[in-house]
Amino acid sequence: MNRTATQLLTLVRREVLRFVRRPYNTFLPPIITNALYFAVFGVILGSRIGEIAGVSYIQFVLPGLVVLGAISDSFENASFTIFHGRWNEYIQAVTTSPMSHRSVVAAYVSASALRGIVTSLLIVGVGLVFTSVSVAHPLYLIAFVLVITTLFGGLGVIGGLWASDFDYLTVMNQFILRPLVFFGAVFYSLEVLPPLWRTVSLFNPMVYMVNGVRYGMIGVTEIEPTTSLLVLTGAAVAVLAVDLALFKRGYGLTE
C-alpha cells in the first residue's frame, strides 16, 4: 500500500472506530426513533390512510425515513468530528501531519458517508420488523444513497469548520436540516399539496433525494430519477470542492 493510501485509511479507520465504538450514541438512537416512526406513522396512522401510489403507507414512508437517517447521520458525523477536534484541538494531529488536503477531505467525507449508509441499513432492518421491503431498482438505490451520504458528509465538513460553538451544530441539524426533510415529501406525496406548495416544494433538494430513494426501493417517483441523480451528483462535487478549498485555506483551522 502506498504512503498516501496508508494516510487516508488511517484517518478513515480512526473515524469509523470512533462511531462504531459508541453505538449508544450513534446507532441506537436511529433504531429507536425509526421504530417509533414505523409504529406511529406506519402501523397506527397508516391503517387509516390506506395506499399511496399503489403501496401501503408504511412502505411509502420507509424510503423517506432512510433518507432522513442517512443525511442526518452523515452530516452529524462529519460536523461533530471536525468541530469536536477543533474544540479540543486534537484535529491538529491531522492538520500538522503530511497528509494532503485532498486525503483529509476524502477521509472525513467517506467515513461520514459510511455512517449514513450503516444507519440506512439499520432503518431498513427496523422496517423489516413492520413490513416487507422491496428493491425495485437496486443500482439507482445504491447510487442515490452514495450520492446523498457523500453530499451530506461534505456539508457536515463545512458545518464542522464553520461552527464556533456546540450550539451551531444544533442549529444546523434541528433548524435547517430537519425542517427541509420534513417538508421533503417523506410522509406525504406531492400530489396532495396545493399547486403553489407543490411548486415551492420543488425548490427543496430533499424532495429529489426522497423521490430518488423511493424510486430505487418501490419503483415510484414523482420526479424523473436520472435528472435528480445528476443534479445531486453535481451538488456533491461542488460541496467537495468547497471542502477542499476550505482545508487549503485553513478555514477554522489556522490562525
Binding site: T6, T10, A93, T254, E255
Partner: protein, 319 residues
C-alpha cells in the same frame, strides 16, 4: 551540503493590534540543539506554529530542511515531530492507538505503527499505561506522552514547546535524557523553555527573542561572556566605602558584608588589574572570587534593555 533544519526570513504575523512576529529571521542548522528563549508573548509559539502550519504568516518565508512550509507543506511537516505546550490529544482512544494514528498520518503502515507506538511509550516510560485514555494519565505522564507522540513519526526535527513546564525535577531530568539521546542520534531539536538551566545545560545555541524579533543568537557560553560578572574581593582591613577604581571595564564597586564587589564584563580578565590597583592604593587582598553572570541575568539584561529597562520579565530558574 545539508539544508538548515529551519530557516526563516523576515517572518511577520499580526493579531489585531499585537505584532506577534516582527520580521523574525532565524537559522537552525541540521543536528543542532537550539533553544528559543523569550518572555511570555515574545512570539515563540507563533514561530513554531508557523512551521507546522497552524499559523499563516502575513509575510516572510520559512523552510524546514529546504522545504517551504507552505508550498511543500507535506515534505516539511513530515520532517517535524511537535510536542506543543498545550495538550491537544484525541480523547476518544487509548494512548497507544493515538500514537498509531499519528504514525499512520505520516504514512507508516499499520504493523510498523504499532511497533513504533510501543517503542515510543517504552522510551518515555509509560508502556504500562498503553490502554489508558489521555485524560486518566497523571500530569507527569501527560508530559511524557506528549514527547512520545512527537517521537512516533521518527522526526528529523523535534520541536518541543516548553516540554518540562510544571513537571518535577526527576521527570525533567528523565525528559532531558531522552531529548539528549535523540539529539545524539542526529535529530535536530528546537526547544522553547522558561527554565534557563534547561537552555544552559542542553542547547548548542540559543536565540533570545522578544516582541517577535530576534534579540541575539549565540552559544550559552558566548552569551554569558557578554554578561556582567561580579568580582568578589576580600580585603585585610575592609574600608567602610568601596575604593574608587580606575580599571577600564570595572564598574559599580560596592561593599557588602565587608567584601568588595565589583561588577565587570569579562570579570576574570579584569581581576588582576583590579588587584594591582587595590594593592597600589595600600589595600591587602586576602581572597578573590569571580562569580560569572548566569544566562538568566544575561537574558534579563537583554530583554529589559529591549524594553527600555521597565519591563518585568517572567522566567523561572530551577534549583
Amino acid at each position: 551540503m545539508t539544508a538548515p533544519a529551519i530557516r526563516t526570513r523576515e517572518l511577520t504575523k499580526r493579531y489585531g493590534d499585537v505584532q506577534a512576529l516582527a520580521g523574525l529571521s532565524l537559522t537552525v542548522e541540521s543536528g543542532e540543539f537550539f533553544g528559543l528563549l523569550g518572555p511570555n508573548g515574545a512570539g515563540k509559539t507563533t514561530f513554531i506554529n508557523t512551521l507546522v502550519g497552524l499559523v499563516d504568516a502575513d509575510g516572510g518565508e520559512a523552510t524546514v530542511f529546504g522545504q517551504d512550509v507552505e508550498d511543500d507543506y507535506r515534505e516539511a511537516r513530515d520532517a517535524i515531530g511537535l510536542a506543543p505546550q498545550e495538550y491537544n490529544v484525541d480523547r476518544f482512544f487509548p494512548i497507544h492507538e493515538v500514537l498509531e494514528h499519528k504514525a499512520g498520518y505520516h504514512g507508516v503502515p499499520e504493523a510498523e505503527a504499532e511497533e513504533r507506538a510501543e517503542d515510543a511509550l517504552k522510551t518515555v516510560g509509560i508502556w504500562d499505561k498503553r490502554d489508558t485514555r489521555f485524560d486518566w494519565l497523571s500530569g507527569g505522564m501527560k508530559r511524557r506522552f506528549m514527547l512520545a507522540r512527537a517521537l512516533v513519526s521518527d522526526p528529523d526535527l523535534l520541536i518541543l514547546d516548553e516540554p518540562t513546564a510544571g513537571v518535577d525535577v526527576q521527570l525533567r531530568h528523565d525528559l532531558w535524557e531522552i531529548i539528549n539521546r535523540m539529539n545524539d542520534g542526529g535529530t535536530t531539536i528546537l526547544l522553547t523553555t522558561h527554565y534557563i538551566e534547561e537552555a544552559e545545560r542542553l542547547c548548542d545555541r540559543v536565540a533570545i527573542v522578544d516582541d517577535g524579533r530576534k534579540v541575539e543568537v549565540a552559544t550559552p557560553d558566548e552569551l554569558m561572556e557578554r554578561g556582567t560578572d561580579t568580582v568578589e574581593i576580600g580585603l585585610e582591613s575592609p574600608p567602610a566605602t568601596a575604593p574608587t577604581l580606575s580599571v577600564e571595564g570595572a564598574r559599580d564597586a560596592r561593599m557588602e558584608d565587608e567584601t568588595l564587589l565589583v561588577s565587570a564584563a569579562g570579570g576574570s580578565s579584569l581581576a588582576p588589574a583590579i588587584m594591582r590597583e587595590l594593592e597600589a592604593a595600600g589595600h591587602t587582598v586576602t581572597s578573590l572570587d569571580v562569580r560569572r553572570a548566569s544566562l538568566e541575568e544575561v537574558f534579563v539584561d537583554m530583554t529589559r534593555a529591549d524594553h527600555g529597562g521597565d519591563t518585568e520579565v517572567e522566567m523561572e530558574v530551577d534549583a
